[in-house]
C-alpha cells in the first residue's frame, strides 16, 4: 500500500529500490509542488501577519511611521482598560447565551423534524434558509424590525418594555443581538442534530418501548445521551463563531448604545482607525490566547464524550 510501489512503470528515474518501501524512498518532487502552494500562501496570509501582529504588540507603533519597543506596556494598559474588559465580558456573555439558545432550539427543532411529520423535506428546507443569508444584511433587516415594527406591536399590545426600541436600551440591546445571531446560527446546529438523531438505531427506541419508557423518558434517557457527541460539536463550533461576532453587531447596533454591545472583534478593529495599532494588537494577542485556552479546555472536557 505505498504510493510508489508501482512507480518504475511511470517514473523510471526513481533509483530507490522499490522493495523496502517503508522509510527510505524518495518523495516524488511533484508532491512538493502539490503541497507548497497551500503552505506558502497560508504562511503569507495567516502566519506572517500573526507573527507581525504579536511582534508589534510589544511596540508603540500606531500603524505607520516610526516605532519603538515598549515591552509589556500595551498588555498592562489593556488589562486595566475598562473598554477592553467590558468588550471581553460582553463577548463571552453573549457567546454563552447564544450557544445555549441555539442548542436548545436547534435540538428541539431537530427532534420535531425527525418525527413522523408531513412535509418533512419542505420544512427542513425552510429552516435552513437563514444559514445562506448574509449576516450583515439580515442584521439590517432586523434592525428595521426592532426599531419600527416591534415598538409598534409592543405599543399596540401595551407591553411597556417593548414600546421603545430594544436596540436603544443599553441593558437589553444584547438580547436583540442574541436573537439575530441565533436566527442565523440555528440551521447549522439543526442539521448536525438531525444527522445525530438519524444515526440512532431504531432498535434502541423499540427496546425502550418494550420496557415501557414514556416519550419523555425516551427523550431524556435515550435520545439526549446518544446525541451528546453532537452537542459537543455544536457547542465548540458555536463558541468559535460567536466569539468572533462582528457582522451582526455592526448591522444591528454598531456596538451601541454607548459601548454596551461592543465585541472584541470590533474593539480590535477599531484600533486601526484610531491609531491604537500596537495597543489593539495586544488585545488581539490576549484574545487569541483566550480562544486557544477555551478550545483546549473544550477538547479536554469532551474527550471521552465525542467518541460517537
Amino acid at each position: 500500500m505505498t504510493t510508489t510501489a508501482s512507480k518504475p512503470a511511470s517514473a523510471p528515474e526513481t533509483t530507490a529500490p522499490d522493495r523496502p518501501q517503508q522509510k527510505r524512498q524518495k518523495v516524488e518532487p511533484l508532491y512538493y509542488l502539490f503541497l507548497f502552494p497551500a503552505v506558502v500562501l497560508f504562511s503569507l496570509a495567516i502566519t506572517v501577519p500573526a507573527i507581525v501582529g504579536i511582534f508589534f504588540s510589544f511596540t508603540d507603533s500606531i500603524g505607520i511611521g516610526e516605532w519603538q519597543f515598549s515591552g509589556f506596556t500595551n498588555y498592562i494598559a489593556a488589562f486595566s482598560d475598562p473598554a477592553i474588559l467590558s468588550s471581553f465580558l460582553f463577548t463571552f456573555g453573549f457567546s454563552l447565551a447564544t450557544v445555549i439558545v441555539v442548542n436548545v432550539l436547534a435540538f428541539l427543532l431537530a427532534v420535531g423534524l425527525t418525527a413522523r411529520i408531513r412535509f418533512k423535506t419542505g420544512l427542513r428546507a425552510i429552516f435552513v434558509i437563514p444559514m445562506v443569508v448574509s449576516g450583515i444584511i439580515i442584521a439590517y433587516v432586523f434592525q428595521f424590525l426592532f426599531q419600527n415594527s416591534l415598538p409598534a406591536v409592543g405599543g399596540a399590545l401595551g407591553i411597556g418594555p417593548l414600546e421603545t426600541s430594544l436596540l436603544a436600551n443599553p441593558d437589553l440591546a444584547w438580547v436583540a443581538i442574541v436573537i439575530v445571531t441565533a436566527w442565523q446560527a440555528i440551521p447549522g446546529a439543526l442539521l448536525i442534530y438531525i444527522a445525530g438523531l438519524l444515526s440512532i438505531p431504531s432498535e434502541v427506541y423499540e427496546a425502550g418501548d418494550i420496557d415501557g419508557a414514556s416519550k419523555r423518558q425516551q427523550l431524556f434517557r435515550i435520545t439526549l445521551p446518544l446525541v451528546s457527541g453532537y452537542v459537543v460539536i455544536n457547542v465548540i463550533l458555536g463558541f468559535k463563531n460567536f466569539l468572533n461576532a462582528y457582522d451582526i453587531i455592526v448591522g444591528l447596533t454598531e456596538g451601541g448604545p454607548g459601548t454596551s454591545t461592543r465585541s472584541i472583534a470590533m474593539t480590535i478593529i477599531s484600533g486601526f482607525n484610531s491609531g491604537d495599532y500596537s495597543y489593539q494588537m495586544a488585545t488581539a494577542t490576549l484574545f487569541f490566547i483566550v480562544v486557544v485556552i477555551i478550545a483546549i479546555l473544550q477538547l479536554l472536557a469532551t474527550r471521552g464524550r465525542s467518541s460517537f
Binding site: 503552505v39 496570509a45 480590535i268
Partner: protein, 313 residues
C-alpha cells in the same frame, strides 16, 4: 504507514458520507422512513407538524418583510409598517438601488470573489491533501498537515490589522487580496475534509492506474480529483457561503469603496439614505437573492455538506 493504519476506522465513516453524496436526500430521510412501518403504519404526527409550521414564521417573516418593503413606493415605505402589502407594486426601489450601489459592479465583484475563493480553495486544498496523505510517513508532510490545521484556532480579528497593512503594502488591498485571504481561511477546514476522504479511497485504484503507465500528475487529475467530487462539493459550498456573505474581510481589506462586494455596499443606506426604506430593502433583496436561489436549487447538497463537514470535522 500511518495512512494505511488509520484507513479502516475512517473509511467506514466517510464511505457512507460519500455514498450518500450521490443521493443526499436519501441519507437524511431513509432511516426515519424505514423505522416507521414497523410500529404503526405511517401515523402522521399532526401536532408536531403544525407546531413546526408555526415556527417557520420566525424564519419567513424577515424575508417576507424584505420582499414587501422592497416593492413599495418611497411614500408608502416611510410609514414604517413592515407587514403591509405594497399597493401599488413598485420596482422603483430596485432601479434606485441598482444605481445608488452601482449594483452591476458590486455583483461582478462578489461573483469574482466567490468564484475565485471556491476554485482556489478546492484546488489548493485537494492538491495539498493528496500530497499529505500519500506522503504521511514523511515528517514534512505530516507536520504541514498539523500546521495547516492549527489555523482553525486563529480568529480573523486577531490577524486582521497586520493583514490590512500587508495587503496594503503588496497592492493587494482589492478583491484579489480578499480571494487569497478568504481561501486561506477556508484551507484548514477543507484540508481536514479532503484528507479524511482521501484516506477512504483504496490505493489499489491508484496502483492499477500507475501500472497502466499514469504519472502522479495524471493519477491526481484523472483519477483522484474526480473521485473527490462529493467532498469538493462540500468544500465548495462552505467556501461559497463564506465568500458571498462575508462582510468583515472585504470591508477591511478592500480599500477602494468602488471595488466593494455586495454585502459591504449595503451600509450605504445605513449612513446616507436611512429613510429610503424601499430602496434599502430592494438592495438587500438583490444581495440576498442569489444565495437563497442557489440554495433552493442545491438545498439537498447544502444539508449534506454541512452534516458531512461538521460531523466529520
Amino acid at each position: 504507514m500511518s495512512s494505511t493504519n488509520t484507513a479502516p476506522s475512517l473509511s467506514t465513516a466517510t464511505v457512507t458520507g460519500g455514498k450518500s453524496g450521490k443521493a443526499p436526500g436519501d441519507h437524511l430521510d431513509k432511516p426515519t422512513r424505514r423505522k416507521k412501518p414497523r410500529d404503526k403504519p405511517e401515523r402522521v404526527n399532526w401536532g408536531t407538524t403544525i407546531v413546526l409550521f408555526l415556527c417557520t414564521v420566525t424564519v419567513l417573516l424577515p424575508l417576507y418583510v424584505t420582499i414587501m418593503m422592497a416593492f413599495k413606493t418611497s411614500s408608502q415605505s416611510v410609514d414604517g409598517n413592515a407587514f403591509s402589502v405594497p399597493t401599488p407594486i413598485s420596482v422603483q426601489g430596485f432601479i434606485d438601488a441598482w444605481q445608488l450601489t452601482d449594483a452591476p459592479v458590486g455583483f461582478a465583484i462578489s461573483v469574482f470573489v466567490t468564484a475565485g475563493t471556491v476554485i482556489i480553495t478546492i484546488l489548493v486544498a485537494s492538491a495539498a491533501s493528496f500530497a499529505i496523505i500519500r506522503n504521511w510517513h514523511k515528517r514534512l508532510f505530516k507536520w504541514s498537515f498539523f500546521y495547516l490545521l492549527g489555523a482553525m484556532f486563529i480568529p480573523f480579528p486577531v490577524v486582521a490589522l497586520p493583514q490590512i497593512q500587508l495587503t496594503g503594502r503588496l497592492g493587494l488591498d482589492n478583491p484579489i487580496g480578499v480571494v487569497l485571504l478568504a481561501s486561506m481561511f477556508q484551507l484548514s477546514f477543507s484540508v481536514l475534509l479532503f484528507t479524511a476522504f482521501l484516506r477512504s479511497i483504496p490505493m489499489e485504484l491508484e496502483e492499477s492506474a500507475r501500472i497502466d503507465g499514469a504519472s502522479t500528475w495524471q493519477v491526481f487529475w484523472r483519477l483522484v480529483f474526480p473521485l473527490l467530487a462529493p467532498m469538493s462539493a462540500t468544500v465548495g459550498i462552505f467556501a461559497f457561503l463564506y465568500a458571498w456573505n462575508d462582510f468583515m474581510m472585504p470591508s477591511l481589506i478592500i480599500s477602494d469603496p468602488a471595488l466593494q462586494t455586495l454585502p459591504v455596499r449595503q451600509n450605504l443606506f445605513q449612513t446616507q439614505f436611512s429613510s429610503n426604506y424601499n430602496v434599502a430593502f430592494a438592495s438587500y433583496l438583490m444581495a440576498m437573492a442569489p444565495a437563497i436561489i442557489a440554495y433552493l436549487f442545491a438545498q439537498r447538497w447544502v444539508m449534506e455538506g454541512v452534516t458531512q463537514g461538521a460531523v466529520k470535522g
